[in-house]
C-alpha cells in the first residue's frame, strides 16, 4: 500500500542518523517551510486554472488552451507577469498598511495550512486544538482586507472592506456552529482524531439529517467567508469595480488573488475533513472486504479528491448564482442560518448523548 507516511518516516530516520537532533529539527523546519510555500504557489496556480476551466465548461467555452498543452501554463504566465509588473503605490495611501495588508491575508492563509492532515501521517503540526486553531486564525484575514480597504484611500475599497467585515463577522458564527456539531459527535478538536472517528463511515452519512444540514450551512457560510459569489460583496465587480483591492496592482494584487484561492482550498479541506473523513477512504461499517479494497487507494488521493470536489461545488455556485445585496446577505445569516444552525447543534447534541448516530 502506497503511503506518504513511509516516505516521511524513512526520511526522518535517515536525517536522524547523520545529524544531531537539533539540526534535524532545523532542517525539517526549513524543508517544511519550503514545502508549504511551494504548495501554496502550486495550489494557487492549479486552482486559478481550475476556476477558469470550470467557468469555461459552464459557459460553453473552451477556456485557456494556447499556453502549453491544454493551457496549463496560463496561470504561470499570469503569475509571472504580475510579479514583473510595476510596483505601484497610489498617492496619499497609508503606506505602511497598504504594504502590510496583502501579507496579512497571505500569512493567515498559510498559517491555516499547518494543522490540516493532507494524507495519513502527513501533517505539518498535529495540534490537539486543531479545529479551534483554524477557526481562530481564519478570522484574522478580515483584518487584512479591512486594512487594504482603509489604506487604499479609495471609496470603493472602503465600501468593499466594510462589507467584507460585516459579512465575515456574521458568517463566522454559523460556520462555527456547523463545525461544532461535528465536534459534538467526535468529542475532540484534534483533526486526526476526527478523521479516525470516521473509520467506519463519514460523518455526513453517520450523522443523520443534522449532519447534512450542518454541511449545507457550512458550505454556504464558508462561501460567504471566502468572499466568493454569490456572496462576493467585498469585490462586487459590477458595483465596486474591484472592491478592497481596487487600488492594488502587480504582486500585491497577486497575493490577494492567490490568498482567495488558498482560502477556498482551506475551507474545503476542513469541510472534507469534518464531513467526508479527510484522507479516510470510503468505509462502510463492517464490510471488511469493501473497506480493504478502498484502502488501496492512497490516502492523499482521497483527501485531494474530496477537497477538489467541494472546491468544484463552490466554483459552480459562483458561475451560476446572482449576487445578493448586502442587507439580504445579513438577513440570510442572522434570520435564517444562525437560528437553524443553533437548533441543529441542539439536535446534534441530543443525538450524540443518546448515541443515535451510527
Amino acid at each position: 500500500m502506497f503511503s506518504i507516511e513511509n516516505i516521511t518516516n524513512s526520511f526522518h530516520n535517515w536525517l536522524s542518523s547523520v545529524l544531531s537532533e537539533t539540526l534535524v529539527m532545523l532542517v525539517e523546519m526549513g524543508l517544511i517551510a519550503i514545502a508549504a510555500i511551494a504548495l501554496f504557489a502550486v495550489l494557487g496556480l492549479v486552482l486559478v486554472y481550475m476556476e477558469r476551466k470550470v467557468a469555461a465548461v459552464i459557459q460553453i467555452r473552451l477556456g485557456p488552451n494556447r499556453v502549453g498543452p491544454m493551457g496549463i501554463f496560463q496561470t504561470s504566465a499570469d503569475t509571472l507577469k504580475l510579479v514583473l509588473k510595476e510596483g505601484f503605490m497610489p498617492n496619499n495611501v497609508d503606506k505602511f498598511l497598504y504594504k502590510l495588508a496583502p501579507f496579512v491575508v497571505m500569512i493567515t492563509a498559510m498559517l491555516i495550512l499547518a494543522p490540516i492532515p493532507f494524507a495519513k501521517g502527513f501533517q505539518i503540526w498535529d495540534i490537539n486544538i486543531g479545529v479551534f486553531y483554524i477557526t481562530a486564525i481564519s478570522s484574522i484575514s478580515v483584518i487584512g482586507i479591512l486594512m487594504a480597504g482603509w489604506a487604499s484611500n479609495n471609496k470603493y475599497s472602503l465600501l468593499g472592506a466594510m462589507r467584507s467585515g460585516a459579512q465575515i463577522v456574521s458568517y463566522e458564527l454559523s460556520a462555527g456552529m456547523a463545525v461544532l456539531s461535528i465536534i459534538v459527535l467526535t468529542g475532540s478538536l484534534n483533526l486526526n482524531e476526527i478523521i479516525e472517528s470516521q473509520r467506519n463511515g463519514w460523518w455526513i452519512f453517520k450523522g443523520h439529517i443534522p449532519a447534512l444540514i450542518a454541511f449545507v450551512i457550512y458550505i454556504i457560510a464558508v462561501t460567504a467567508e471566502t468572499n466568493r459569489a454569490p456572496f462576493d460583496m467585498a469585490e462586487a465587480e459590477s458595483e465596486l469595480t474591484g472592491g478592497f483591492h481596487t487600488e492594488y496592482a502587480g504582486m500585491r494584487f497577486a497575493l490577494f488573488f492567490l490568498a482567495e484561492y488558498i482560502n477556498i482550498f482551506i475551507v474545503c479541506a476542513i469541510g472534507a475533513t469534518l464531513f467526508f473523513g479527510g484522507w479516510m477512504p470510503f468505509h462502510i461499517g463492517n464490510w471488511e472486504g469493501f473497506n480493504h479494497v478502498m484502502d488501496f487507494i492512497p490516502s492523499f488521493v482521497w483527501f485531494f479528491g474530496k477537497t477538489f470536489f467541494l472546491i468544484f461545488l463552490i466554483m459552480w455556485f459562483r458561475w451560476t448564482f446572482p449576487r445578493l445585496r448586502i442587507d439580504q446577505l445579513l438577513n440570510l445569516e442572522w434570520k435564517y442560518l444562525l437560528p437553524i444552525s443553533m437548533f441543529n447543534l441542539l439536535l446534534m447534541t441530543v443525538i450524540a448523548i443518546k448515541g443515535w448516530h451510527f
Partner: protein
C-alpha cells in the same frame, strides 16, 4: 500592420532591452519574461460604443478569447495590462482615457479598435466633439480596421500584440524592420 510615428526615444513598453554584451542567461530570461507578458494580457473593461459589443462577442462562446488567456477582464485599471479602446473617443472622454492609461502600471499596451479609435472614422468630418484618433491622447500599439471590426479582427489584433511583445524589440526597431522588409 501599420506602426505609427512616435518620438524615437520612447521604448516599446514591456520589452526588456538587451544590454550590450548581455549574456545568454539574460537573453533567455528576457524571452521568458516576454513570454509571460505576451500570454497574460488582461484587458481593461472599457468600451465606449459599438465596438464594445463586438468586444463582448469576442469574449462570448463562439469566438472565446479566453483561449489565449485574455478573459480576465479587470474593471480597475490598476490590474489591467491592455486597454482596448472600443469606440469613439470624444473631447470630454479624452482626459479620462489619459487618466485611465496613467493609472495602469507598466508595462501597458493599447489597442485602438475600430475606425473611430483609429482616426475618428465616420465621425471625422463636421463634428465638434470627436477626437480624431485615440493616438492623439495615448500611444497606440495596434490598430484594428473596421466599423466595428469583427471579433476575429480583434483576436488578430491581440495576437499581433503578443507577437510584438514576444519579438522584444523597441518601437523604433519594429519601425525600421517594417521599413526594410515591409512586414
Amino acid at each position: 500592420m501599420d506602426v505609427k510615428v512616435t518620438p524615437p526615444s520612447a521604448p516599446f513598453p514591456g520589452s526588456v532591452q538587451e544590454i550590450p554584451g548581455g549574456g545568454i542567461v539574460l537573453s533567455t530570461l528576457d524571452d521568458v519574461i516576454n513570454w509571460a507578458r505576451s500570454n497574460s494580457l488582461w484587458p481593461l473593461v472599457f468600451g465606449t460604443s459599438c465596438c464594445a459589443i463586438e468586444m463582448m462577442s469576442a469574449a462570448s462562446a463562439k469566438y472565446d478569447f479566453s483561449r489565449f488567456g485574455f478573459e480576465v477582464a479587470r474593471a480597475t485599471p490598476r490590474q489591467a495590462d491592455v486597454i482596448i479602446i472600443a469606440g469613439t473617443i470624444v473631447n470630454k472622454m479624452a482626459p479620462v482615457l489619459k487618466r485611465l492609461f496613467d493609472q495602469m502600471p507598466d508595462p501597458k499596451y493599447v489597442i485602438a479598435m475600430g475606425a473611430c479609435a483609429t482616426s475618428g472614422g465616420p465621425f471625422f468630418y463636421n463634428t465638434y466633439s470627436v477626437v480624431k484618433g485615440a493616438d492623439h491622447v495615448i500611444p497606440v500599439d495596434v490598430y484594428v480596421a473596421g466599423c466595428p471590426p469583427r471579433p476575429e479582427a480583434l483576436l488578430h489584433a491581440l495576437i499581433t500584440l503578443q507577437e510584438k511583445i514576444k519579438s522584444g524589440l523597441t518601437r523604433d526597431q519594429i519601425r525600421t524592420q517594417f521599413a526594410e522588409n515591409g512586414k
